[in-house]
């Protein structure tokens, strides 16, 4: 099956993985302006336009982009000219950290006149955790806050953030916005029990899975406790837990860590098929056994 997609006027033919969303497909191609926020379709940080229509790329199946034209924030400016909305976000400084800005730009640049009259509704798919939205609304309404004082007159004046131009063009770099050669991924196997002691862990099956580099368990963790409830003073809370412990005290506590070539691999390696046997009060997956305490 051949796959073709146009992203910001460049053609790509790398076939997406089955089950891949458009967000990771785009970031895998180096379009780091597309941000990962909630990864569930709520926050809008990953908004891109597909054939001109804004969508949340984290819940857009990458295969559905076949034959379509995708615009990310990096493609919003044309011929070196900022899109008017990019300029307005700069003028009003409609951002603080700027992480949500790409999503706001890809959304607001697609709003029609009617949608502009009802911003709370039009922007309910975009979350900003810094600004309180006032500066964002100002940007959309064309309010200008920044000043360009003459040299020597800048003190006390409203200057734009130095990184502003990078923020509105999607070229500012945030955590993970970097290609790392040989990058590995780690997934945690977590406890389904509120309190249990691990009797044994068999990592051999996980280690045999192709692409898996390492599996860490309490056997590999330093025999040193830290406090999982640290307050201001180190003496107030007991050191209670090892990084990977042989006792788990809450549902979701990490039990093992699987390191592999891709994010998908360790998940499959770590996925056991839980089955509880009531009589022996043991719980097992393919990879570990434990004895629940206080159950």
């Amino acid at each position: 099956m051949s796959f073709e997609v146009r992203v910001n006027d460049q053609d790509f033919d790398a076939e997406p993985r089955p089950g891949q969303c458009l967000r990771t497909y785009l970031r895998d191609r180096g379009w780091f302006g597309v941000k990962k926020g909630c990864d569930a379709g709520d926050c809008g940080a990953c908004t891109v336009q597909v054939d001109g229509k804004p969508v949340h790329s984290c819940i857009y199946p990458a295969v559905c982009a076949e034959g379509r034209s995708v615009t990310t924030v990096e493609g919003l400016a044309k011929d070196g000219e900022l899109h008017p909305m990019q300029q307005k976000f700069l003028d009003a400084q409609g951002f603080q950290c700027g992480f949500c800005t790409a999503g706001f730009l890809m959304t607001t640049s697609a709003l029609d006149e009617e949608q502009l009259t009802d911003l709370p509704r039009s922007l309910k798919g975009n979350l900003c955790r810094c600004t309180g939205y006032r500066a964002i609304e100002d940007a959309i309404r064309g309010v200008r806050h920044t000043e360009q004082p003459r040299a020597g007159q800048a003190v006390g004046r409203s200057l734009g953030a130095p990184a502003g131009p990078q923020v509105v063009t999607g070229t500012a770099r945030y955590t993970f916005d970097i290609e790392v050669e040989g990058l590995l991924h780690m997934k945690l196997l977590r406890s389904p029990h509120p309190h249990a002691r691990i009797i044994s862990i068999d990592t051999s099956a996980a280690l045999r899975a192709p692409g898996v580099h390492a599996v860490f368990t309490h056997h590999d963790a330093p025999d040193r406790l830290y406090s999982s409830a640290r307050h201001e003073h180190p003496t107030e809370d007991p050191d209670d837990t090892r990084v990977l412990d042989d006792v788990v005290r809450f549902v979701g506590q990490r039990v093992a860590a699987v390191v592999a070539d891709s994010e998908g691999l360790p998940r499959r390696a770590a996925a056991g098929s839980p089955s509880s046997t009531r009589n022996s009060r043991t719980w097992s997956t393919r990879s570990w056994r434990c004895c629940p305490v206080h159950q």
Binding site: G19, C21, D39, K53, H56, K124
Partner: protein
Amino acid sequence: MDLNTVVEVCDARRRETWRPGDAWLGGGTYLFSEPQPHIRRLIDLSRMDWESLTVTAEGDLEIAATCTIAELSRFPKPTHWVAGPLFEQCCRAFLASWKIWNMATVGGNLCNGLPAGPMISLTAALDGICLLQSQTGAVRQIPVADFVVGAGVKVLEPGELLRSITLPARALGSRTAFRQASLYGLGRSGALVIGALDPVDGMLTMTVTASTVRPIRMRFALPPNAEAVREAVEYAIAPDEYYDDIHGLPAWRRHMTFRFAEEIRRELTEEGGR
């Protein structure tokens, strides 16, 4: 999010044998919003090219399962569809952003079967009929109100496909009243009641969704008084059928249901009602 356990995307047109771990892929807006560790194959419906919205010779509206919310919202409603405004009211009852409307499908909303699914509210209130198609090609029809039988529970058999939903012309001619409540502005529906007045015999039908685990309908052959509506709601909805989750306590949902039912009664049956 990436669904890393998915190993294959199949074009639904190839009609491959249904296996455990298969799931129909509509717009993907729900499937890709949560981990789906049980899914191995996505059977992609996006290339079926079903006509999204068709007005039949009888004047019924046939909505393909793959019709997006955006298409349904944009579709011009003829003036003789007195129920026309209900479409946009229900589209706007989505918690999801309008951007999601570009991919989310009407069929997907029904098949999720959530109490707050506004396409369930719309199609149940307008006497919608689901056309279901089994793996063998056998088809059956079932009213939307009977299609969803619990919170997230549908009558679909494994591999069975929701092909379309048909809204009869007569229901489209109904005068309707719409009430929706949420714990916060533009939020997820905690109670949603729709009244529809039959254009031929004047029967009033009220459809309760969001506050209940499944769509619940009440019919009044004659214009009811307040007491009759109160009794009908009391009788139709068992105490344990009020939904209980983070979006509203059952007691509040119950309260809003009674209140909306009475407001709708006044709006549709009393002189001076809108």
